[in-house]
Every structure is written in C-alpha cells, then in structure tokens.
Amino acid sequence: MGLFILRRLWVMILTALALTYIVFFLTNLYPNLEKLAKSQGNFRMTDAQVETYLGNRGYLQSTPLKYAQWLGVAPGWVITGTDGETRARCAAPGAAAETATTFCGILQGNWGFSTVFKDGVGSIVATRLALTGKLMFWVMVLMVPSALLLGVLAGMREGTRTDRALSTVAITTTATPEYVSGVILIAVFSSSAVGLKWFKGTATSAMENATFENFFLPVLTIALYGMGYIARMTRASMAEVMTAQYIRTARLKGVSFPNIVMKHALRNALIAPFTVIMLQFPWLLNGVVIVETLFNYKGFGWTLVQAAGNNDIELLLGVSVVSVFVVLVTQLISDIGYVYLNPRISVS
C-alpha cells in the first residue's frame, strides 16, 4: 500500500509539473505578453515600447528558464533595464533590487504577485479558496444525501413506477448544465417578472454573511447537476446488489424488506457511488466557475475567470496548481477508498 501511494505521488508530481508547464507556455506566448504589457503600461504603446517594457521586466527570457525561476530552482532575474532602473524578480514590490534574495519560487513559498488584484497570489488564492470551500461544503451537504436517497429508492425495486419517475428526474438533472438550471432558478425564484422573489439572484452578500436566502440558489444549482449522475450510479449499483444471491437468501429467511435494504444491500451498494462522488470534484470545479460567475460570488472560480481573462500569469499558475492538486488528490483518495471498501481488490 505504501509503495502504491508513493508511486501515485510520483505520477502526481509529474502531472502537476507537466500541466503547469503547459499553462506557463500558453500564458507566456508573445501575443499574450503583449496584451499584458499593454494592459499594465498603457494601451497606446508601440511595438518597440512593448518590447523594452517586457525586456526590462524579465518577460523575454526563454520559457524554460522563466519556468525554472517560477519553480524556484533557478536564480531569479536581476535586470538593469534600458531606462537605467534595476529590477529584480525576487524584490518585494517597491523595494530596491539589491535587497532581493537569489531564489524565489514555489519551492521557497513565493507564489508571485497578481497583476490584476495587486496582491500576493498566495493570499488571494487562500481567501478565495476559503469562500469556495464554504460553497462546496454546502453543495456536498445537499447533494450527497439526496443523490444517495434518490438512487437507493429507485434501485431497490427496479422497473417499478417509482424507479421510472426517479430515474427520469435523475436524467433531467444531468441534462441540465449549471448555466441553464441557474438561469431557470433565478427566473423562477428571484425575478420580479414571476414575482415569487423567495431567494436572491446574486450571492455577493453571501461572501460575508451566508443566509438561506442568498446562498440556497447557487448551492442548489451546483448540486443539481452532480446529483443526477451520482443517483444513476447508485441506482445501477443498488439494482445489481438487489439481484445478488445473498439478498435472495435473506428474503427466503424472512427478513423484512426495509431490513434487507438497510442492513444487507446498502453497504455493498455504496462502494461504486463513493468513487463517483470523489471523481465528481473536478466536475464540481467546473460548475463552481459557472455558478460563481452567474451569481457574482467572488470565490475561486470567479478568480480563475478574472485571471484568465486578463492574462494574469502568476495568479493563473497559482489557480491551476491548486485545481490540478484538487483533481489529483481526489483521484488518489478515491483509489485508496475503493480498496478499503472493496476487499476483493488489491493494489499490487
């Protein structure tokens, strides 16, 4: 088991390195840098001005070298610019270049500086992630129990009318992407045109003070899309378990139906949904981006959109490191959990 985790960790690190390099490469293409220079300097710069601007700030070094500096395995640049000023990658904003340390990168705990928010990437990611964590927590609280309940109820008597009805509900929610269900929910529950006005159409105020009124719609929107999928998996797994020999034996022994479901079937039926729930995290990340944009909730997904839209290289890299990390860790947990729950599988 230890060896298995070690091997997975090695693959994880390799994946993370490859992915961040891809992000780094794409954000450091010259047209992107030109856009960055123009939005940071001024929009009427000539091509030559753009080039000196970028050269003075170390953007025109080769991409692998810049990547190594960002990682913290190569010494950060110190460049005396054409305007006579000496700048250093590692100098704090506003501080003199001479005070800078030699190495400053991810390995030294320095995540860089966001050009859009004018703040350190580490602190931005931390605060935004905490906000999204709050959202995700409530999504999980709503989604997992209701999805499991839906799946178990549909799967315990396969082919009945309850099963048909619940399966149709599950299919409908998987067919409704967040931007569709979000729009419909806002239209029905918060617009003045329908007039119900039960909930608020934006979740901006939920960042400080989340109430049922301003937080329920975004949570419901994300939960709905993931719910159908988990419910269908649970249903399939439950239906399979209910046809197993030991269930028939229990029935013939005279165990009551609720007891069969609760004590005999449920535990075996929940193995498959567990992996699915863990693998839902990457999808939820997607939903988070859409829902945070739609409801104007300034969390992690909203930050991703801002960083990507403005080519904020270091913030974008920070965001992608975190999201890739989330994806890979959940994959690892789902693998390990699967082995624990299902003794028939060995990892060797």
């Binding site: 693959v11 994946t15 992915l19 293409l29 067919a175 569709v180 239209a187 890739v324």
Partner: protein
C-alpha cells in the same frame, strides 16, 4: 394591433414548425414500418423512452436544418427593429415593412432581435458542430485506445499518462487558455487541428488496409481513392488562406472554417478524446481475452485486423450509447464556451451566447434567456433519453 395571447403564440409557433412536423412524421412512419429490418435503430422504436428521446433530438436536428434554409424562422436572426427592444412574447412588430412577419413570437432581446428566430438559428450551430466534433473525438480516441488496450505495456502507460494529463485540466481553464484571440494569432489551434484531424485519415487507412491487404488489386485503388478524397477534405479543413497553416493554394480550398469556429471545434475535440480513449482502452482490454480473438490470432490475422474488425465491432454497443451521451456533453461544452463569450462571435445566435446575453436583465425580462435555456435542456435531455433507450435495447439480446 393587439399583442397575441399565449394560445395564439403557441398556435403560430406550431404553424411555423410545419416542415419540422412533416419531416418528423415521415421519419417515424418509415422507421416504425421497417423497424424489423433496421437492427438496433429499429429496436429503438420498441422503447417509449428511446422514442421520446429520438423525437426530441430529431426535432432539433430538423429545426436546425430547415432553419439554415430560412424555412422556420420568422425574422433575420441579426436584424434589429429598435422599437422591439425587450418586448414581451407575442408583441406585434411596429414600424417595419409589409413583407415582415407581423409578430415577435417569443419577444425581442436587449438588442431588439427576434428571440424565436435566434433560437432556431442557434439549433443549427449546435447541429453543425456537436455531432462532427464528437465523431472526431471518437476517431482520435479509438485510433489511440485500441492499440493501448491491445498491446499494453509502455505504449499504454505513455498514452494513459497523456490522457490523464488532459483530464486533470479543469475544462474551463483549458478553454480560457486556448480560445482567445491572442492564441488564435499564434496559430496554435491550427497546428492542433493539423494533428488531431489527421486521425480519421489514419483510422480509415488502417481499417481498409487491414481488411484488404491480401487483395492488392482491390486495396490499392480503393485506398488511393478514399484517401485522396479524405486528404483533400482534410487539407481544405486545416488550410486557410492568411492563417499560419496554408498548405494548398486558395483555389483548391473547398471551404473555409473561420478561425473562431475552428478553435472551438479543436478544443472540444481535444477535451473529449481522452475520455473516449479511456472507454475504448477498457473495452479492448476486456474483449481481447475472448475466444474469437484467440481464433483470429490462430488464423494468422494481423494485430490491426483483430483490433479493427474483431474487437471494435464487438465494442459497438457501449460506444454507440456513449456517442449519444457525448454529443449531449459536447452541446453543454459549446454552451459553456458561449456562456463565457469564448470563441464564437458575440452576435452569434448559439444558445450559450444568447443565455449569457439574456442573463444580465434576467430579473426583469425572462424570455431572452429562458428560451435558449429550455432549448438546450430539451436537446440534451433528448440525447440522454436516446442513449438510455439504446442501452436498454442493446442489453436485451
């Protein structure tokens, strides 16, 4: 003129869709009549769920096709009649000429365009891109997944690592990185298109060669003919006058794909193919232990013949089901791109862009966002139901 009541609106919409109803009735009548001779497709008409799904999907397909021929639409999708800004459904058109359709059936959007016509035109964008992009993703996934599952070993490790790499990327981040004007200017989407779109050619070439390589007299002309046509289509698709990839001169170029559409297409294929790869790889690993594969090996068939003519046909059930689901997923992805305003031009009538436009005024005017939202929902729902029906019917035998 008085605004129309809801019954009138629905009646008029029903009349507008006449060609679609006729086409649907013809397709259903023909399919049910001949269903015993149509294999899996015919069996679909034994399941209610499958029929409902198929009807929803074909409704949008026909709407898209007829809409592109300007048959269902009432107004031009880009035409603005300024007095109609944000008007409610059924409002009569004022201040326009005689030959203009007298009502905005589903109201006007915030740029005073007809919501109904834009919805119909939006169906065409989806019907054009989604199935084709899914097909390309399947070609890439099958061509790489079969050898990975069949040979295993180093090749499998490498390809699986690459597939997992793409899958670990948050889709929206990938879209934001790939689908920007700056990236289009560097030509990266064109290079990616060049790499990705060559897979159908490889697939067809191996498919035909492995089958007919014992009959060179038939194989050689067949391969030259088929690859010639496909190659020309391929070159027309990737090469574009004035872009980074210009291989053939303009007069040989059959059609031009605008840079925005091409990059959308490429990124959707790119995001979908790793999942297909994993499904095909899993199926191959399962099927290659069967007796008929061993029989083919004993017969002395080559590895590619076994993969493409023994394993692939036997994996078709799950693949067809996944194909339907994946078209739905691609539709959702296209909507996501539109929702974030990536790739497609801002005046494009596709549903994602329209939802994004409409959501800003959602608390006052519902119809500009709700109409495309419900359209997208019904199409994806139809595809899911269709996949469900197909799965049930294919499991029966």
């Amino acid at each position: 003129m008085e605004p129309l009541s809801w019954a009138d609106i629905l009646g008029r919409i029903f009349v507008q869709f006449t060609p679609v109803w006729i086409a649907l009735v013809v397709v259903f009548a023909a399919s049910i009549w001949f269903k015993r001779n149509l294999g899996l497709y015919g069996k679909l008409f034994d399941s209610t769920i499958g029929m409902i799904g198929f009807a929803l999907v074909m409704f949008w397909v026909f709407t898209g096709i007829f809409g592109a021929m300007d048959m269902v639409v009432t107004h031009d999708a880009l035409n603005q009649i300024s007095v109609m800004k944000n008007k409610a459904p059924g409002t009569p058109v004022m201040g326009a000429g005689e030959d203009v359709y007298p009502y905005y059936l589903l109201g006007g959007d915030n740029l005073a365009r007809d919501v109904f016509s834009r919805m119909v035109k939006g169906a065409w964008v989806v019907v054009q891109i989604a199935p084709l992009a899914t097909l390309f993703a399947f070609m890439v996934g099958i061509t790489l997944g079969l050898p990975a599952g069949f040979y295993g070993g180093r090749l499998d490790t490498l390809l699986s690592f690459l597939a997992n790499l793409i899958l670990a990327f948050p889709v929206i981040l990938l879209f934001y990185l790939l689908v920007t004007p700056e990236i289009i200017a560097t030509g990266i989407p064109n290079y990616m298109a060049t790499c990705l779109f060559v897979f159908p050619l490889i697939f067809v070439a191996i498919l035909l060669n492995s089958r007919y390589h014992t009959q060179p007299a038939l194989r050689t002309p067949l391969l030259i003919g088929v690859l010639g046509v496909l190659g020309w289509l391929y070159l027309s698709l990737i090469s574009e006058v004035g872009s980074k990839v210009q291989v053939i001169p303009g007069f040989l170029d059959l059609f031009d794909v605008p840079g925005g559409i091409l990059v959308v297409f490429v990124s959707v294929v790119f995001v979908n193919s790793p999942t297909v790869f994993r499904i095909v790889r899993g199926l191959t690993m399962d099927i290659k232990t069967r007796d008929y594969v061993a029989a083919a090996q004993t017969r002395g068939e080559g590895p590619w013949y076994i993969m493409l003519w023994e394993i692939l046909p036997n994996a078709r059930g799950p693949l067809i089901v996944d194909f339907c689901l994946r078209i739905g997923y691609t539709t959702i992805l296209l909507g996501t791109l539109g929702f974030f305003g990536l790739g497609l031009p801002p005046e494009s009538p596709d549903w994602g862009t329209t939802i994004n436009d409409g959501r800003r005024l959602l608390s006052i005017y519902l119809h500009p966002a709700i109409v495309p939202a419900l359209s997208l929902l019904s199409l994806v729902l139809g595809l899911n139901l269709l996949a469900d029906g197909l799965r049930e019917e294919s499991l029966k035998d």
